[in-house]
Assembly symmetry: C2
Homo-oligomer: 334 residues x 2
């Protein structure tokens, strides 16, 4: 950000001018395991394990993020974190990020650089530098397309739908924070900051994913991005289902208090709110105690919240009122 040109736009500098600035931001030093970086036709990562793990996320302004409550740097952080979280769900080790940006000509260069710098910072923290990208122009909402590549031992990579009937379902960390944080922002309340942070600056649980993959006793796993009610079902084999105990859900005290202040059903937010980017995993009952210790050593927690059952679909115990939690659907929910 140069003070002399605070309002410099993308149209002012053009695509090549913007690319030159992004290269300066990103290619400041040699990254380990990166042979070819931003500025060539493709990136080359070396010393990758024979199994590459890949995931892509497409985030669109007004749907997946909103500048009414987050800054450009928040968007960059969340896009990287959400994408890295998909690798955590597989128990994989991130190695690199790619970014596609669809910009309007009037977008400010300083904002674009803030988004990219924030994304690159999150990536570097998890050993996944931003190694390549593409720019395009749009007349519509800002587009952020992010792709992560990582590595895993093929037989250790977690899969969906591999749990067995009777397996215990556990979730990492705490749920509902992102959804209650979004409700706080929508209500123009900026406190408590810890809950807001769950919405704007989620943390991908890479260390937990890697530790559980090394351990090797998880039968199935998924990312919690669309809400536990929806994502837990991903663990059950086809034809089987999941029973969750609403009273067992891990919900932070600050999230409960904020939800109460807003008059929200915190359990519903924890089940269906989405964007918590925690892990949901299944394992045999006899392995649960060891898993809890592994999570603690990885700096987080695991909480048993239900079981895989032979009846298909989702059932929820410990809840007096009836509900049909659905999770987020891009084309129906809003």
């Amino acid at each position: 950000m140069r003070k002399s040109t605070p309002r410099l736009t993308v149209a002012d500098v053009g695509e090549s001018g913007l690319l030159a600035r992004l290269e300066r931001e990103l290619v400041r030093r040699r990254e380990r395991g990166v042979l070819v970086h931003v500025g060539d036709d493709a990136a080359v990562l070396t010393r990758l394990s024979p199994s590459a793990v890949l995931s892509t996320d497409l985030l669109i302004e007004g749907v997946d993020f909103d500048f009414a409550w987050g800054a450009w740097a928040d968007v960059g952080h969340k896009a990287a974190a959400a994408n890295l979280s998909d690798l955590a769900a597989m128990g994989a080790r991130p190695r690199g990020l790619l970014l596609g940006l669809g910009l309007r000509p009037e977008h400010q260069v300083a904002n674009v650089l803030a988004l990219v710098a924030s994304m690159a910072k999150v990536g570097r923290r998890f050993a996944a530098p931003l190694v390549g990208g593409d720019l395009s122009r749009t007349s519509g909402p800002l587009v952020v397309a992010v792709t992560v590549v990582g590595e895993a031992e093929p037989r250790r990579a977690f899969r969906r739908r591999r749990a067995r009937v009777g397996d215990v379902i556990l979730v990492s960390g705490a749920l509902g924070g992102a959804a209650v944080g979004l409700a706080l922002l929508s209500a123009r309340k900026r406190l408590p900051a810890a809950v807001i942070r769950r919405q704007l600056r989620p943390e991908p649980q890479i260390a937990l994913g890697l530790a559980l993959a090394r351990w090797g006793r998880v039968t199935s796993a998924a990312d919690i991005s669309d809400g536990l009610a929806r994502d837990a079902l991903h663990l059950a084999p086809r034809g089987c289902g999941v029973e969750l105990d609403a009273e067992a859900l891990p919900i932070a005290a600050a999230t409960r208090r904020a939800a109460a202040a807003l008059g929200l059903d915190v359990v519903e937010r924890a089940l269906s709110g989405g964007e918590d980017f925690e892990r949901v995993v299944a394992m045999r009952e006899r392995d649960v105690a060891a898993a809890l210790r592994i999570a603690e050593r990885a700096g987080t927690s695991l909480t048993p919240v239900g079981r895989v059952v032979s009846r298909s679909g989702l059932s929820i115990s410990g809840r007096s009122s009836r509900m049909a939690p659905r999770g987020f659907d891009h084309f129906r929910s809003r």
Copy 2:
């Protein structure tokens, strides 16, 4: 496409309904080297060489493609081809594609499936199945974000800016076809089909890239996506430049005739039109004859069009009128 529901929209089926249809379209058989496919948190490719080559392209309706002249299947084809072409520029072998789609709720399911099927078909043809993706919603133009992962021997991957002064510059195939094809479409002329096809259905030159990489005598290479005038400069080391001979440019007879009929300067289109997705490569003069034979065996051609020179920037000989070819800039050209 089901005849009973010809106008089924994305909003009708919802995100999960659309995902289920895409999974049916894509996961019809086991692909070699693909362990985890569409339908999990991430894709897993096995037996990858230790060097992963990655590139991402972001294509936005109205800027990078237009339904006024291409169908949804054309868009899927071109997005895959453009992305694969970036790997060809590195001399890499494609292994998989990822797709992010930003859709409006009123988009028709049949169109979305046509786009995805077309992309998957191109990918399979080059041993790069569509292994993963993400859906989002937009209120604006359609968004197609495509990422390719491939493999290369690290020391064989082509780099930009590695040519030396005196190196000969060669281009593959023929230039200007895509730009003249676009002009034909804009003028609502659908003939000649071969020229239109250069715009709507480009072919990535994967075989040539791989053959040249095995050979090992290319000093620098790039994709021709923004126009030769811009992309040839990518081969020169910093501070050096490129001299092109306008009379040497390979231009197909059909392209010349179509340009003449439209009153276009075909050389200007060949230099600056972009989207030809051919290779531009540099090599020592003594290696040129061998390279021409390699290209022929790969089913295409290479044509010497200029040299790397010590004077920076681009100069063009063999042209009486002055011009300043700039190539395509997303934020300035239109």
